[in-house]
């Protein structure tokens, strides 16, 4: 076999078809370094397979003979659930569990934490939530099952005329239950909770996989002609109920999956831009650009799965925005297919004064105006040097003051995040048993107390994690500057490992919710942005509000309410909250969860925070839109929607 098969995709496909080649790095050596994903390979071993396409599917690089019909590809995608959980976060092979010894373990081999035992997680988990390994939530069959019970999924209501026309275009589609359910949700708590219980509400009736911009034009055209409702689907990582089908939608709902549009069409090294199809997911985009020595530097925590089009549609924000900017700073050109036609600008000027920026109608439109098909995005040479770091502060107040000063001096590293004490403690619970990269911080800390950290109260101290990027010299200079500022606020450098671990954990933390749900713990994160002078007040009040609301709503155990400052700006910061509680004894935990989250959002707004910094509005937060942007503002958006999509073809009903 030419290309080793390392993922489920391969084995699945291989059973019926000539061996496909899959997965990243081994391929790289077999082909010339080219910067496009459209890699045409000659493969002498497969007569007839003249060329192969290297493409990115769900974070895995797959090479497929180009001659395979679209069916081969869709075969692969039909079984997306082979690679990813259909009722939880991330890759199927990666999950937290408590092993027979009662120790937490992270399975799989994908992450640094994979295969490791986390001895302190159990204690932290039990003491934080009052949970117990003895109390497993009712083992709903489905949550344990790898596949869903297709018979429980409502039958699709298909628009035959549309289907007929669609078939004639040759664009692949499916109405199988698995495919439809997979695209019926994002990752809000209530969505995942329902899946685990095997409950399916309104799901799309059909899934289509256009392969390029032209396919999208055709699909949208047909949808308009037959009055079919379209919902664009990127990576499915939405946390705003944006992908949920309106339950009362009577038309046929078609999920337009952009995953097949995942090619880098060209790279312009003179202007440092790349023209990319919108379905590409973050990790592939970075990896492929890296191969040419470039990167976008856009790294949202969901970058393993979220797509370029999704970022544009939600106004996403990446961890390293201080160096690279948020999505709105990164895009140079956008092409979007709307019912009214295709919208795009006529040039790629770096800045223009030609009336209100139409990009800003597109960015944040959350799939309500059309499908983003192609994006020209800025790229940068890969950084020569990266360095992690961390600083311990005696308390959160000092930490925030330091971040504020860093922002004032405009010397924020690529990333700077400040965790509160509860998150700091949580970080420790995730310390693996043995590992070279995980130097024992907690043990070290005991030493610290005696030596350096004397006077720091372990119940108040908090940690900032840092990531510097650039050329070596400048990174070191920069680092010194930041540590000097930190020192003024009582901050002490606490090592690179802690920093690195902090960032790595952000990728695995999403998996932890599934573990919690096995033991009656539900939770989620939410975020906001807020002026500097209100950061502390907002953090305190929101956390307190959560605690109070939980108590008042009969939650039997104190909740975990913790926050971190994840981004700094000139005029304010982004604050990210985690909130979770043990729901034993509650009849309707998800409902209570929703009410508390609602209250927390009210508190955020009352404290000068925004409705969202990057998660978007979707349907979850649209209740607050009028008060957030005024009635006139709503009217503006409405009038755009009415012109662009008068028949509400893009009928996900987000935002408005």
């Amino acid at each position: 076999m030419l290309f080793p098969c390392l993922c489920g995709l391969g084995s699945l496909v291989s059973s019926q078809t000539p061996k496909p080649c899959c997965l990243g790095s081994p391929i790289v050596c077999e082909r010339q370094r080219v910067c496009s994903t459209d890699v045409w390979l000659s493969d002498p071993q497969y007569p007839g397979a003249e060329a192969m396409v290297l493409t990115a599917i769900r974070g895995e690089l797959v090479v497929i003979p180009v001659e395979w019909s679209w069916l081969t590809l869709s075969r692969v995608l039909f079984s997306r659930q082979e690679v990813m959980k259909w009722n939880g976060w991330g890759y199927s092979d990666s999950r937290f569990l408590f092993n027979k010894k009662g120790q937490a373990e992270f399975t799989g081999r994908r992450y640094r934490l994979s295969g490791m035992v986390l001895p302190s997680l159990k204690d932290w988990f039990e003491s934080t939530f009052g949970a117990s390994l003895q109390h497993k939530s009712p083992a709903t069959v489905s949550s344990m099952c790898a596949t869903l019970n297709a018979s429980a999924v409502p039958f699709p209501s298909l628009n035959e005329a549309f289907l007929q026309d669609l078939k004639s275009t040759g664009i692949p589609f499916s109405h199988e239950a698995e495919d439809r359910v997979f695209r019926a949700h994002g990752h809000c708590l209530h969505e995942i909770f329902a899946l685990r219980e095997g409950k399916f509400g309104r799901v799309p009736d059909l899934v289509v996989w256009p392969n390029c911009h032209e396919d999208v034009v055709k699909t949208v055209d047909l949808a308009c002609r037959h009055n079919v409702c379209l919902i664009p689907y990127g990576g499915g990582t939405s946390v705003s109920s944006a992908l949920e089908c309106p339950p009362d939608e009577t038309r046929c709902i078609v999920s337009l999956d952009t995953s097949q549009m995942s090619r880098i069409l060209w790279i312009d090294e003179k202007n440092l831009t790349a023209h990319v199809e919108a379905g590409i997911v973050g990790q592939d985009l970075e990896r492929l650009l890296n191969e040419s020595g470039y990167c976008t530097g856009h790294e949202p925590d969901s970058m393993e799965f979220s797509s370029l089009g999704g970022w544009v549609a939600t106004r996403a924000s990446g961890m390293k925005k201080n160096v690279y900017g948020n999505i709105e700073d990164l895009v140079v050109h956008i092409k979007m297919v709307c019912p009214r036609g295709v919208v795009e600008k006529s040039c790629q000027g770096p800045r223009v004064s030609i009336g209100p920026d139409i990009h800003h109608f597109i960015m944040g439109s959350e799939g309500t105006l059309g499908v983003v098909t192609e994006v020209t995005i800025k790229i940068r040479p890969m950084p020569e040097y990266q360095k992690y770091g961390s600083v311990v502060f005696p308390n959160f107040e000092q930490g925030v003051a330091c971040l504020r000063e860093v922002a004032k001096q405009r010397c924020a590293p690529a990333s700077i995040r400040l965790m509160d004490n509860a998150q700091f403690q949580f970080g420790h619970a995730l310390k693996p048993q043995v590992s070279s990269i995980f130097t024992s911080f907690l043990d070290g800390l005991k030493k610290f107390y005696i030596t350096k950290f004397k006077g720091f109260d372990p119940h108040h101290l908090c940690v900032a994690t840092l990531l510097f990027e650039g050329d070596r010299e400048r990174v070191l200079q920069h680092e010194k500057q930041v540590y000097d500022i930190a020192a003024k606020f009582g901050g002490l450098a606490a090592g690179e490992d802690n920093g690195q671990r902090g960032y790595m954990l952000t990728f695995v933390i999403a998996y932890l919710r599934d573990l919690g749900m096995d033991y009656y713990v539900i939770g989620e994160s939410f975020e906001t942005s807020v002026p500097w002078d209100r950061v502390l007040d907002l953090c305190r009040n929101v956390k307190e509000r959560i605690v109070r609301e939980c108590r008042e709503r009969g939650v039997q155990f104190p909740p975990l309410a913790t926050c971190r400052v994840t981004q700094t700006y000139d005029a304010g910061a982004c604050v990210y909250f985690y909130f979770a509680f043990n729901y034993r004894g509650l009849a309707d935990p998800v409902n209570i969860y929703g009410r508390v989250e609602h209250a927390a959002r009210e508190e955020i707004l009352a404290n000068g925070g925004s409705l969202s910094h990057h998660h978007g509005v979707g349907k979850l937060r649209k209740h607050w839109m009028p008060e957030s942007i005024s009635d006139v503002g709503i009217g503006m958006l409405k009038s755009v929607k009415e012109y662009v999509d008068p028949d509400n073809i893009f009928g996900s009903r987000n935002l408005l």
Partner: protein, 666 residues
Amino acid sequence: MASNTLYSPRDPALKKRDDFEDILEERRSSSDLRYALRCYVPVVYKGIAPCKPGVLKTAVLQSDRLRHVVAEMSKETGESADVIREEASGILEEMAHRLRLGTVRFFAYSLSKAFKALFQRVRVNEDGIQRLQQSIQEHPVVLLPSHRSYMDFLIMSYILYTYDLSLPVIAAGMDFLGMKIVGEMLRMSGAFFIRRSFGGDKLYWAVFSEYVKTMLRNGYAPIEFFLEGTRSRTCKSLTPKLGLLNIVMEPFFKGEVFDVSLVPISISYERVLEEALYARELLGVPKPKESTSGLLKARKILSEDYGSIHVYFGHPVSLRSLAQGRINRSQYNLLPRHIPRRPSQETQAFVNETAYRLVRLQEENMVLRPWVLVAALLLQNPDGVDMERLVEQTSWLRGLAVSFGAFLDWPDYVSASKAVASSLALHTGLVRTEGGRAQLAMEPKEPGSPEEDLFDRAASVLSCASYRNQILHVFLRPALLGMAMQMAEASRKDDIYSCFSFLRDVFSNEFILCPGGTVQDFDEACYMLTKCAAVHVQKQEVVATEKGQRILSFLTSLFQPFLKGYQVVCRFLCEDAPEGFPESEYVAAVRSFAVKRILSGELTCYEALSSDVQKNALAALLRMKVVRKLKVGDQVTLRVNKVAANTLENKLGGRVSTQKALLARL
């Protein structure tokens, strides 16, 4: 209609209240010195260590708010910022407290001695103390005691010290500083001093409000002030002042604190120390300036028995819950929080309503002694009453009061005759009992001029009234209904309601009647009178029952003095007031008008002489635009609409039947 969160349960009689403990009991059996020197470690807000007063001052002077105001004033006046800052620092110096444990201990010692000499008991509801202790740890706390006596804040601090709670910082009037040593002593026991009026002084206001808010935000100490603004000379709650309440609420509105606990505290005296003083003051004998020697003279007081004090710490009221759905806090999002601005109308209305609610909560938890009932009855029988009858009436009234939710300190095992007897014994100065009859002591000790005698009699009446006044809040709403029924002459509910509404409006400076609560009050009145079977409330009608006659006639005569007092004021304005006379002469002029009428026998109501009634009446008339203020130069003169005054008087006297049009004109 307003939300119901704070209103007492529908049936006030069912209200549960805590039991009391006498804190003097232990003082009588153990060493005061040891008590004063004992280890004192109060719980504090979220474990924060209170900072030194000096640090506090610096924080205030360097606050964004003050810097902003200083810069602005400097721009406006051309004065250098340094000079203004200096001035601010001076204001703060004059204002700030200097709480010192040593002084507190001194007070703990000397007050123990004094209290034991003055009072039989100082009784405190310990459950309330426990709730307070809890609150202090969770949120910034504002203590809001009722204000009847200078004793109030000494007692408060004394109690908090006794229970090992954080000592409050107390907003006190500047006049205390007149008493040199005492003023500084008070300062060192936590008082801070504010000028009585500083209307347009921006700098003063900024320093003052920032000072209070800084203490609140940091959980520095509970903040204590008197909603009523000043001591009530009549033992009737005063309509609340909003300035300080506004200030302590702001940090919550602006998100600087999660919540603020407002704790209404009711301090009831069986006998107020200032009893005799107050009556004279109300009659126009000038108030002695607060001077140290004045207070020392009060030492003579020490030889008398002032009975018991009851201090009831009410349930802490969460400002957050009150504001829920009322205040949109995001209105503060668009202006930097240190820039002062006028509260929105919605906020003003909220603060006002909250203030009224809190005063009502104070009223509700005021402990009433049987004597209060006796005083009410004696005032209704100026010619005296048979002891037997008095006992019967008192017993009847007790039943009525309890069913209306009065917090009566009258245990079941005490018989009515015993209760009456001991009441009379404690107040021999006010009542004469002879030949099986009890009567207000009206005869002057040594006869003087008719006018002097009149004032002596009036003083007795007003003293006695100050006890009756304590129970008025219990009967207020049903009484207004009773009066409205009388006034409406027919039983149509609509008519009665409009009379009710009219009376309520007239008296809203006199009693605690929250603006905008008419419907609620009417319902409450109907409910209470229905409950005691005094009226039948039907869809269209309200009718008195047979049994109700006694209740209704008691209620209406209970409030008769106020009705009379307002009528006298109207009469005066119609007949005697010169065109455009100075406001400063108003009280004296009404008084001499009333004196004339009493001497001539046209008027029998001595309470019409009370300057409190007169001032409240004027405020009502101004509000109703029967009288207008005109500013001429430095002088404020009053201009009367005589027709309106006449109509109002007639209406109060029941001489005009209800006409909507007329009401509208008023």
